[in-house]
């Protein structure tokens, strides 16, 4: 994975704050280093500050405090048109009064490029997104997916080293979105450009990115490669925001040998990996992924703590089964099992015992209510 040391950071946010009204901070103390060629996704719920960060990088918003550097140069006072950053907008923002060729020609014309050079670049950019032959059309004559491709070509045609994308796939249907996710990732890696991608869709973030920065409440909660983010969330917000998650509340009894013993509120005891709990007596939220829960006694490790559970509902979803359980007073504890030939289908009303590997169950902070 790309190195994040300060020296080779291509984009750098240092202690950046942003406030719109002088009373509340939308972005609080943001520190972020993006190495050259990385595909970084800013993921978070709406209002978490991710789009504001993107707009500050693009130059449409000014940072209230702190430095933003591009390739080592501070860009706080450089106007957007001199930053040379390609940008793809949520609604594509293709100029409706221009043809596709004119749209692509625009960034080249304002750079004073000659006609023949422009034509070559436009053709190559359109071929790259498989939109050759659409030069004379107007944006309104294209489908959403086609407009998306043209917007991408326009952001890349002047060969920027950094491309920003603000929820570019939000308006597409699911199938097209998945196809475009794949294409954008390939294009970005083949061209070697640095990409900052903003989305609130966690699947998109996980499938496309080298690293994902999870935003909440104006701060980066965790920045990590997708697998690490999914498997080792550093706090309860990340655990709940990324993927599906079962949570149980309890109190830490003891921490020994890298395993925390947690007593749940109904008296049950489980093993968990202490992530941000430090001492016995602390309240904690333990989090466990539905696919890591095991109910087959033979596959459970010996000596591991288990919990009693009652099957409430069995949902057939094709490739997987989703079973809803009542565990420790919680009615929406979900387990996911693969639809394999030997897989047992649980029946509602059945009493089972569930358990997991201690490292799959993470004892996190209990968020304030």
């Amino acid at each position: 994975m790309a190195s994040t040391s300060g020296r080779d950071a291509f984009v750098e946010f240092e202690r950046v704050q942003k406030s719109y009204d002088g009373e509340t901070l939308v972005v609080k103390d943001l520190n972020l280093r993006i190495p050259k060629g990385e595909f970084l996704t800013m993921l978070g719920p709406s209002g978490s500050g991710k789009t504001t960060c993107l707009m500050m990088l693009a130059g449409f918003e000014t940072a209230t405090h702190g430095d933003i550097r591009l390739d080592g140069r501070p860009i706080n006072h450089i106007p957007p048109h001199k930053r040379g950053i390609g940008m793809v907008f949520q609604n594509y923002a293709l100029f409706p009064h221009m043809t596709i060729a004119e749209n692509l020609s625009f960034p080249l014309e304002v750079r004073g490029m000659g006609k023949s050079e422009r034509e070559g670049k436009i053709r190559r950019a359109l071929d790259m997104v498989e939109m050759g032959g659409f030069e004379g059309r107007r944006p309104a004559q294209l489908s959403g997916g086609q407009q998306q491709r043209v917007a991408l070509a326009r952001a890349l045609v002047f060969e920027p080293e950094l491309v920003l994308m603000d929820e570019p796939l939000g308006a597409l249907d699911k199938q097209l979105r998945e196809k475009m996710q794949f294409e954008i990732t390939h294009l970005a890696h083949n061209l070697g450009i640095t990409t900052v991608y903003v989305t609130h869709d966690q699947t998109e973030a996980l499938t496309m990115s080298d690293r994902v920065a999870v935003f909440n409440d104006g701060r980066i909660q965790q920045i990590a490669p997708p697998d690490e983010l999914y498997e080792s969330p550093q706090n309860s917000f990340v655990a709940q925001f990324i993927g599906e998650n079962n949570t149980l509340e309890g109190t830490v009894k003891e921490i020994k040998g890298g395993v925390a013993l947690v007593e749940l509120d109904d008296g049950g005891v489980i093993d968990a990996k202490p992530v941000n709990v430090e001492r016995p007596g602390e309240r904690t939220l333990v989090s466990i992924r539905p696919e890591r829960v095991e109910f087959n006694r033979e596959r459970l490790q010996a000596g591991v703590h288990t919990l009693k559970a009652e099957v409430l509902e069995f949902i057939y979803m094709g490739d997987i089964f989703r079973t809803r359980l009542r565990v420790a007073g919680c009615d929406d504890f979900i387990i996911k099992t693969r639809n394999a030939p030997d897989q047992r289908r649980l029946q509602p009303g059945e009493q089972i015992e569930i358990g997991w590997l201690p490292e799959d169950c993470r004892a996190l902070d209990l968020p304030a209510r």
Binding site: M87, V110, R111
Partner: protein, 423 residues
């Protein structure tokens, strides 16, 4: 296959039929007839209103520009003589017909109307008719000498030419007058006398001033409309009220307020003098000239420019400008190449609205225009209300309408009417 054929039978030519055998088109028309009749009934009152109060009076007015039977209705004998002797010099029979008609006109008290009608063509002849009519009872044959005794002007060839052309109920005389032209007794189409050429100048002035006002409204209104479109909702509403405020004030009040501001001893001049910008002896003449008309009308018509512009600008997402900036365009290039082209529908709508309103504007130029700032509409009003030459007024109005329609067509050619957005 057989089932579908039974469901939807087709006749020989292949037109679709309903299951009971009627052609589908006929069935559709019948099904929609009730809705169509109901819609028609709903618009009928408005249709009747528009027809009675707008289309018929305007049509009648316009027909007056070509039809004028004042002469032929009141001077039947002379009209018959003109019909029977095309191109002839007036002979004894013509003078006899003249005297007979003038006697009848005196009875019916229409000699003034006839005199006025001829006076339009040959100035100074109205009194000729009234004087002669007064003495018509005493005129004895031979009529020619007797009439010439009353006034030797009756021998004028242009007078007889004017009467001959006025005898025809359908005439282009008024259009000739409206174009500052006349047909000489020799039948040539020529300019009228220099001192009576006023309408061409007025038409040109009207269109030039309307253009200037439209341009000023665009220059002043564009930034305001843009501000309206980008400000947060609450501030924009407040600003919109300020824009609309003049609409809620009487036009007369607004115009007279401008008079207070603009006159020689008015607020603007006083302020400039007090500030020492102007000497007391060189006060600006801002009123009773074109400057007054332009200033007051620009203010009054400004909302008609701002509102269509605003409605278009409101729909332009800020992301276009951002996209252009991120692609490397300066703010000026972004404005010129991205923003302005997208506001063209609003500019077009606002400009045509202001221009057409300005071309026909009446009250404001009448009050603040003075001699050099009046427009063609003031002249039309003059002929309607004072000179009572309705036919000339109608001819001027028709030409104004035609000119506006031509401009509208040109506009459609250049900008396209579909490109216009009124709100």
């Amino acid at each position: 296959m057989a089932d579908t054929a039974a469901d939807m039978p087709t006749d020989i030519v292949g037109a679709l039929r309903t299951p009971d055998g009627r052609p589908l088109k006929q069935a559709l028309a019948q099904a929609e007839r009730r809705a169509r009749i109901r819609a028609l009934v709903l618009v009928l009152p408005l249709l009747a209103f528009v027809l009675l109060t707008f289309i018929i009076p305007i049509g009648q007015m316009l027909s007056r520009s070509l039809l004028n039977d004042t002469f032929s209705a009141n001077m039947p004998a002379l009209t018959r003589w003109f019909d029977e002797n095309p191109g002839a010099e007036p002979d004894e029979a013509a003078f006899e017909a003249l005297v007979m008609d003038l006697r009848a006109a005196k009875e019916a008290r229409t000699q003034g109307a006839v005199g006025t009608r001829i006076n339009y063509e040959v100035p100074g002849t109205r009194s000729l008719f009234t004087k002669t009519a007064r003495r018509a009872d005493r005129i004895e044959p031979p009529y020619r000498e007797a009439v010439l005794d009353v006034d030797k002007d009756w021998a004028r060839r242009d007078l007889w030419a004017a009467m001959r052309s006025a005898a025809a109920p359908v005439t282009t005389n008024f259009y000739q007058a409206a174009l500052d032209r006349k047909i000489t007794p020799e039948g040539e189409f020529a300019f009228a006398d220099k001192q009576s050429r006023i309408y061409i100048t007025l038409f040109v002035r009207t269109f030039v001033l309307a253009l200037a006002i439209t341009g000023l409204c665009l220059v002043l209104g564009f930034p305001v409309a843009h501000l309206l479109a980008v400000l947060p909702m609450r501030k924009a509403s407040l600003l919109l009220i300020l824009v609309l405020l003049p609409f809620w004030t009487s036009l007369l009040v607004r115009t007279t307020s401008w008079m207070v501001l603009l006159q020689g001893q008015g607020v603007i001049n006083d302020t400039l003098v007090a500030l020492g910008v102007l000497g007391d002896e060189n006060r600006l003449s801002l009123m009773y000239n074109q400057a007054g008309t332009i200033i007051a009308m620009t203010h009054i018509l400004l909302p008609f420019m701002i509102l269509p512009l605003y409605s278009v600008m409101k729909t332009i997402p800020p992301s276009y400008a951002r996209a252009a900036r991120s692609l490397g365009a300066t703010s000026w290039t972004t404005f010129r190449r991205i923003y302005v082209p997208q506001t063209v529908p609003g500019i077009g709508a606002g400009a045509i609205l202001v221009f057409i309103l300005a071309v026909g504007y009446y009250i404001t130029p009448a009050l603040v225009g003075g001699a050099t700032g009046t427009l063609i509409s003031n002249q039309i009003a003059f002929h309607m209300q004072e000179s009572l030459n309705w036919s000339l007024a109608a001819a001027l109005a028709t030409m104004l309408l035609a000119a506006v329609l031509v401009l509208y067509w040109v506009y459609d050619r250049i900008v396209g009417i579909d490109n216009m957005k009124l709100g």
